[in-house]
């Protein structure tokens, strides 16, 4: 089953066209890795999917569970189950991390017609997840991302993912700036979310993260298009020959 279906997507940032007729289908229960050189359009692709203001879609379409989401507000896409783990999560001073996350969770529960969680129920849920991710309990009472280290920010992204239980999960450079312990904790969090139904889109420069989150497909993105799709064996080849080698060989 296809969760996210991107067809001939053309997108601009400012005056510059970045995506040039990109096609990509995410399968339910699968991990898709997108790799590619700098400037290939990896971040633009993730921004286009979640409806970031910077990106203007000028051609093609994005379907999620069979519906076009091109015109949907970012919060609607989120409520429908699309989640982006940001490459650089912003700091929001004075906004309590737990308060923020409970607001987000209850917005989603309300959208799904479920009852909202009260503070005590929510706290119990948080405690379990914090422990799993090796996060200090005081992380939830601090201001959202404020003064967090690189590793803490990424763990906090994964915490949000665990709590919100999205259906399509985009991980934009989740491994950048992580030490080995953080990388392991983050990967465990991600692997826990694999339930045979969710789709993952792992955007990365390096193959390191793919040792921890085993991908089902590798897509190579270059000049705003997917130029090659293969199984996990492609990672080793990429390591050896680089992007140029792979693409020349085509």
């Amino acid at each position: 089953m296809i969760t996210l279906d991107i067809q001939n997507l053309e997108a601009k940032i400012g005056d510059k066209q970045i995506l040039n007729g990109l096609n990509l289908q995410l399968e339910a229960g699968k991990v898709h890795a997108i790799m590619g050189p700098n400037g290939a359009g990896k971040s633009t692709l993730s921004k286009a999917i979640v409806g970031h203001y910077d990106v203007a879609i000028v051609g093609g379409d994005i379907f999620y569970k069979g519906k076009s989401i091109k015109e949907m507000e970012p919060e609607e896409r989120a409520l429908e189950g699309i989640f982006l783990s940001f490459q650089h999560p912003v700091e929001i001073p004075g906004v309590n991390n737990a308060y923020f996350l409970r607001t987000a969770l209850n917005a989603k529960r309300k959208h799904e017609g479920k009852e909202e969680l009260n503070a005590a129920e929510f706290l119990r849920l948080m405690r379990t997840h914090l422990e799993e991710l090796g996060m200090k309990p005081d992380m939830i009472s601090r201001s959202l991302n404020e003064g967090f280290s690189g590793g803490e920010k990424k763990r906090n992204e994964i915490l949000q993912m665990l709590v919100l239980e999205p259906d399509v999960i985009i991980l934009d450079e989740i491994d950048s700036g992580l030490d080995i312990d953080a990388l392991r904790a983050v990967s465990e969090g991600i692997n826990k979310m694999k339930d045979g139904k969710r789709s993952f889109l792992v955007i990365t420069h390096y193959s390191r993260i793919l040792d921890y989150i085993e991908p089902d497909y590798i897509h190579v993105l270059k000049d705003g298009q997917i130029v090659k799709t293969a199984g996990p064996e492609l990672v080793a080849q990429l390591e050896e020959e680089g992007y140029d080698g792979i693409i020349v060989n085509e």
């Binding site: 507000e73 970012p74 919060e75 989640f83 982006l84 929001i92 004075g94 923020f100 987000a104 919100l164």
Partner: protein, 477 residues
């Protein structure tokens, strides 16, 4: 947000702009010695008070209106204002208060009827130039606490008034304070005796109602040795096309080991988006930490008025005394605020904290102006200042003018200032988690104000949050 709050928010209008339909005694416009004699007579004042008023008036005539604030407004014609307005029936007790006034206060969220009075909060209700009623006065008097209108205090406690009035803000302090000294009408007097911790929150709610009148209230709070009081003021006014002048004076005095916590939620009518109408708010507020180890803390949430000119200050005379200023000032529509504080360190080991948060939206202009002065004998003085500005949209402005005068080179002064725009990245982050744009903006703004709101008493913090939401409604996007 409660659903009725939401309804109010969606309407995006000034919610307290109604008029109370009562018969009002209004003095004819104009200001001369006769006007002052009229006010004094209306209030049955003793002769000495009238003499002081006239002295202030003589001084005022030699003064000129100050224009150093970063404020742009049409000149005020002091002869076109009426200086006294009062509901016609002068009530002797609550039973005699016009039901329409009681109804209006209920609408403002302040029930005055005995059985419905707010738990733990005593209220002085002022309409235009007079105090209409004061709740819990008897209960408070059991503790020796005096809580009454300033007019009553002048008649009933002349010794205290003579001793403390003008002792913090001298009669000739500045143009607006001097005008107030001549024509002040009503306000609140609070006296906390030695060693008493005031058993409830005290508050005054000022309502401007009559057309074309100025409101000139005067408040005096005295905290004797080792006493404590938390006092709150709120205010609102009808929606009108004409500007109305509000020039108040507030004086606070703390003796040894005493503490006053003074909170303001200012919600005067702000005018419209073109600057039509709205209150001109020129206010002098100052506290004197007279005794050692005493403390004065100002917290203000300023969301209303077309013009705000206001610098609640602390004179730290006693050794080890502490002054604090926590402020959130919001300017939206065409509002202008020039506000801040003065911390005057005179005693040894005095310390002060300034946390100022300015929020500007639409065409709002927000200026922080603050002075930290460290006197020659103020060894060991410390100050920490933090001034942050938040801009919403691109037509508004934020300005910061911190001044420092230090005669003691050992003093420790720290100043931090930031200006930030609600960034698209912050908004997007919250929206990507399923929080709609409006809630996301409000979450960011509340986060920005948190340090100040946490200083407010609980009930008022809730009110301040709701008010902030209401004020910024429609100014986003």
């Amino acid at each position: 947000m409660e659903s009725n709050e939401l309804d109010k928010a969606v309407s995006g209008e000034y919610a307290l702009g109604f008029e109370i339909d009562i018969e009002t005694d209004v003095a004819p416009p104009g200001l001369d010695e006769k006007t002052i004699a009229f006010i004094s007579k209306k209030k049955n004042e003793p002769e000495w008070m009238l003499e002081l008023r006239l002295k202030a008036f003589t001084k005022w005539q030699t003064m000129t209106e100050p224009h150093w604030g970063k404020l742009d407004y049409t000149p005020i014609d002091y002869q076109s204002i009426s200086y006294f307005a009062a509901p016609k029936q002068a009530p002797e007790s609550l039973d005699e208060v016009d039901p329409k006034i009681i109804e209006a206060y209920k609408k403002l969220g302040i029930p005055l009827e005995e059985q419905k009075q707010l738990q733990g909060i005593a209220v002085d209700a002022v309409v235009d130039s007079v105090s209409v009623t004061t709740t819990y006065s008897e209960e408070l008097s059991k503790h020796g606490v005096i809580f009454c209108s300033i007019s009553d205090a002048i008649r009933d406690y002349p010794e205290l008034i003579k001793k403390y009035m003008f002792s913090v803000v001298p009669m000739n302090d500045n143009f607006f304070a001097t005008l107030n000294s001549a024509v002040f009408t009503d306000g609140t007097f609070v006296y906390i005796p030695k060693g008493v911790r005031c058993p409830m929150e005290l508050s005054t709610y000022f309502r401007i109602n009559a057309l074309n009148t100025g409101q000139f209230e005067r408040t005096l709070i005295v905290a004797e040795e080792g006493s404590y009081v938390s006092y709150n003021e709120g205010c609102s006014a009808p929606t009108r096309d004409e500007h109305q002048l509000h020039a108040a004076v507030v004086e606070l005095v703390t003796l040894r080991d005493a503490e006053i916590k003074y909170s303001t939620i200012q919600n005067w009518y702000p005018g419209d988006e073109n600057g039509k109408g709205g209150i001109y708010n020129f206010v002098t507020k100052r506290g004197l930490c007279k005794g050692d180890n005493s403390k004065i803390s100002w917290t203000q949430v300023e969301t209303g008025s077309a013009i705000t000119w206001k610098y609640p200050s602390c004179v730290l005379k006693g050794d080890n005394s502490v002054g604090e200023f926590y402020s959130v000032a919001v300017t939206t529509l065409a509002q202008q605020a020039d506000t801040g504080t003065k911390m005057i360190h005179l005693g040894k080991n005095t310390s002060s904290t300034i946390i100022s948060k300015g929020i500007s939206a639409m065409k709002g202009q927000n200026t922080y102006r603050g002075l930290v002065k460290i006197g020659a004998n103020a060894t060991g003085a410390r100050n920490y200042s933090e001034c942050d500005s938040l801009l919403i949209g691109s037509q508004c402005g934020a300005h910061t003018f911190p001044y420092l005068e230090s005669k003691d080179t050992q003093g420790q002064v720290e100043h931090e200032a930031t200006t930030s725009k609600i960034s698209d990245e912050q908004l997007f982050y919250l929206r990507q988690r399923g929080i709609n744009e409006e809630d996301a903006v409000s979450m960011i703004v509340h986060g920005f104000c948190k340090q100040v709101f946490s200083q407010l008493p609980m009930e008022y913090a809730v009110e301040a949050k709701a008010l902030l939401e209401l004020t910024l409604e429609g100014s986003v996007g």
